[in-house]
């Protein structure tokens, strides 16, 4: 129930790349192939455990449609992490990454951790974007990179959690001012006075993050 920190995430990327599916897989552990188009933004939240600390991820799943673009930009503010998603079976979604990245950089804090995600890794036979290309793009722009499958849940946990780890690392390095909510980080309710977090803070029904990686 309580948490040491709350991180705000945004999920961005072209329509149909699987943003809402990634969220659903992460929060509910299920896959729903048919989705309504996201209007504006939808939300999900989940507790994760990083380094023995409970961290609440508050995830803003934005609409990918071009026509919503100007609206979704409004939601970027105050995000600590971003999942920038493309579809490995559709090259154009990869080609649009630069413009998404520009948007993200322009409308949010410069410290925001961005995770590049090539989704639909289960559709290997229809692959249109090589993993190496994704890696190269990420390297070039200073992003973390992963290929995921919202359908099989492969790497979904990791994508969200590694982002959180990176944010947490930045906090510890003092790169994030945790008291400035514009950074997308909030200190949990019991930490109001002292920033240092006792380990006792994280006992309550945590959904511990077991590593189930190694599938992709």
């Amino acid at each position: 129930m309580t948490y040491a920190y709350l991180f705000k995430y945004i999920i961005i990327g072209d329509t149909g790349v699987g943003k809402s599916c990634l969220l659903l897989q992460f929060t509910d552990k299920r896959f729903q192939p048919v989705h309504d188009l996201t209007i504006g933004v939808e939300f999900g939240a989940r507790m994760v455990n990083i380094d023995g600390k409970q961290i609440k991820l508050q995830i803003w799943d934005t609409a990918g449609q071009e026509s919503f673009r100007s609206i979704t930009r409004s939601y970027y503010r105050g995000a600590a992490g971003a999942l920038l998603v493309y579809d490995i079976t559709r090259r154009e979604t990869f080609n649009h990454l630069t413009s998404w990245l520009e948007d993200a950089r322009q409308h949010s804090s410069s410290n925001m951790v961005i995770m590049l995600i090539g989704n639909k890794s289960d559709l290997e036979s229809r692959r249109d974007v090589k993993r190496e290309e994704g890696e190269a793009f990420a390297r070039e722009h200073g992003l973390i990179f992963m290929e995921t499958s919202a359908k099989t849940a492969c790497n979904v946990e990791e994508a969200f959690i590694n982002t959180a780890k990176e944010i947490y690392r930045k906090i510890q390095q003092g790169l994030f001012d945790v008291h400035n909510e514009a950074n997308g980080i909030k200190i949990g309710p019991q930490q109001c006075i002292s920033t240092s977090v006792g380990p006792s803070a994280s006992q309550r029904n945590s959904r511990d993050v077991g590593s189930n990686s190694g599938c992709c």
């Binding site: 129930m1 309580t2 209007i39 504006g40 933004v41 939300f43 939240a45 508050q58 803003w60 609409a63 026509s67 919503f68 100007s70 609206i71 409004s74 939601y75 503010r77 949990g188 309710p189 019991q190 109001c192 309550r204």
Partner: protein, 501 residues
């Protein structure tokens, strides 16, 4: 401009009479109420604007920052027409503060950071303004007139109102509640506003609120307090179930609210920059149009609202669906309707047994469905009530947020911004009424289930339900006000797209 003055003048007289009165005594109140009882439809909207002028603090404040002309104009207008030279906030100041002092004791969500407003503690709970009263009267009588013939002359002083209700209802428990509801609803509705409005001279209210003044901030803080509290003290699992703030967040109400605030703020900035770029006649025309829009946002229907035959259960769903379709955006109220119907169903089954012998006929029709129901404890009822309120409020705010997104998204508009505003304000009324009626039913459940309980066990639960219901209503109304800048910018954009109207 001139016909606007016509509209305003009667109401302003009324307002100044309150000012002189301070705490509006019953006598004076009923007088002004009588005035309002005249079939003077035009005075209604403006009166309602007064009812919640504070409900658009951010927009007003923001606008006044950038448009000092407009602000001073507005202030000037009031100064002229009233004998007492006051700006907008002064009108609320006198009883607002006294109200706050009583409210702060009870309203958990707004307890922090407002002590400096409490400099003047007056003894009595501020009695609502005439418009406030008449609204309550209409609402109250609307609900009770099935049994009463009071409808012909529903306008009495505040105490008359309560006694009317008392005679109308059978069980004593209920009459106490009905009396208390108006006050509570009122406290909840006002407390937020008083904080926002208690700052003289349209200054930023941030100082008062310890840096945060947005609604979602207040709510978030409340939730965090609850989180803290639950983590520290609550050992019993069940206790957590009944925390409004936590539940509201769980239903993503807080997130939607925050998102709506973002859209609202962004729209506001755009509106300002458009206004700044205009001048002369163009500016005046636009201002006038925006003024009309603002009026549509005044929740006028709170007063005008039909006396209305007792609603069937389907009506809420129908009504809200109809309203949403009138908005002509593709948002859907299904989640909301489902949650509401679940709550109603629950109440019905919960009440079915104990009410068997009572003459409260209308709720009984489906009593057969209760076979499997064993009696709920008052704690269960309380928990379910709080949960339902949090859920409904969260979904209402989600609906507003989605609507905002779709309004901003929509290019072509078959529906004008003013029409949309009216629909939205009607929607707000419907939602708040529904919350109010649900809370009444929940407390009926509580009183029936808790007949054998001691008052000090039962009453806090009842109070809590009403309090959260009234808070819910104010959250919804405040969220509704966040839509104003969104519709303003949509009006402006629509104009520029169709350059000639």
């Amino acid at each position: 401009m001139s016909d606007e003055d016509d509209i305003e003048s009667p109401v302003l007289t009324e307002a100044s009479s309150i000012l002189e009165d301070g705490n509006c005594e019953p006598a004076k109140t009923s007088e002004s109420v009588d005035q309002r009882a005249n079939p003077e439809s035009k005075s209604e909207p403006v009166a309602s604007t007064r009812k919640r002028p504070e409900s658009k603090p951010s927009s007003d404040l923001e606008t006044s920052e950038v448009l000092p002309v407009q602000a001073s104009q507005a202030a000037g207008k009031e100064t002229v027409s009233k004998d007492v030279p006051q700006t907008g906030w002064g009108y609320w100041g006198s009883w607002g503060k006294s109200l706050l002092s009583s409210a702060s004791a009870t309203v958990a969500t707004v307890g922090q950071g407002i002590s400096n407003v409490l400099e003047k503690a007056e003894t009595s709970l501020g009695i609502p303004s005439p418009s406030e009263i008449s609204t309550e009267v209409q609402r109250a009588t609307g609900e009770t007139n099935a049994k009463e013939n009071e409808t012909s002359s529903p306008m009495t002083g505040p105490f008359g109102v309560f006694s009317t209700i008392s005679t109308a209802v059978q069980s004593t428990g209920k009459s106490v509640i009905s009396g208390g509801l108006d006050a509570l609803e009122f406290i909840g509705k006002k407390t937020m506003d008083v904080i926002a409005e208690g700052d003289p001279g349209f200054k930023r209210t941030k100082g008062l609120m310890n840096r945060n003044s947005t609604l979602s901030q207040v709510l978030r803080e409340a939730k965090e307090k609850e989180e803290l509290w639950t983590s520290n003290e609550v050992t019993v699992e069940t206790d957590k179930k009944a925390h409004y703030g936590l539940l509201f967040d769980e239903f993503q109400g807080l997130s939607h609210l925050e998102a709506l605030e973002m859209l609202s703020r962004e729209s506001e900035i755009k509106v300002k920059s458009v206004l700044n770029s205009l001048s002369g006649e163009e500016l005046e025309t636009l201002k006038l149009e925006l003024e009309q829009l603002k009026e549509a946002f005044s929740l006028a229907e709170f007063c005008e609202e039909e006396e209305e035959e007792k609603k069937g259960d389907e009506d809420f769903t129908k009504e809200i669906t109809e309203l949403v379709s009138q908005l002509n955006v593709s948002s859907k109220p299904e989640k909301l309707a489902r949650a509401r119907n679940t709550a109603c169903e629950w109440i019905r089954t919960s009440l079915a047994q104990p009410l068997e012998e009572k003459e409260e006929g209308e709720k009984q029709l489906e009593a057969e469905k209760t076979v499997h129901i064993n009696k709920n404890s008052i704690e269960d009822i309380h928990a379910f009530a709080i949960r339902s309120l949090a859920e409904l409020t969260a979904y209402s705010i989600e609906l507003f947020h989605k609507t905002a997104a779709l309004v901003l998204h929509g290019r072509k508009q078959e529906v004008t911004a003013v029409e949309r505003s009216r629909t939205l304000s009607q929607m707000t009324v419907v939602l708040c009424k529904e919350l109010s009626s649900l809370s009444k039913e929940f407390t009926t459940c509580l009183t029936t289930a808790g007949v054998k309980e001691k008052a000090d066990v039962l009453n806090p639960l009842i109070t809590a339900v009403f309090l959260e219901a009234s808070n819910s209503a104010s959250y919804i109304q405040d969220a509704f006000q966040l839509l104003l800048p969104v519709l303003e910018i949509s009006l402006i954009e629509n104009k520029t797209e169709l350059p000639e109207a």
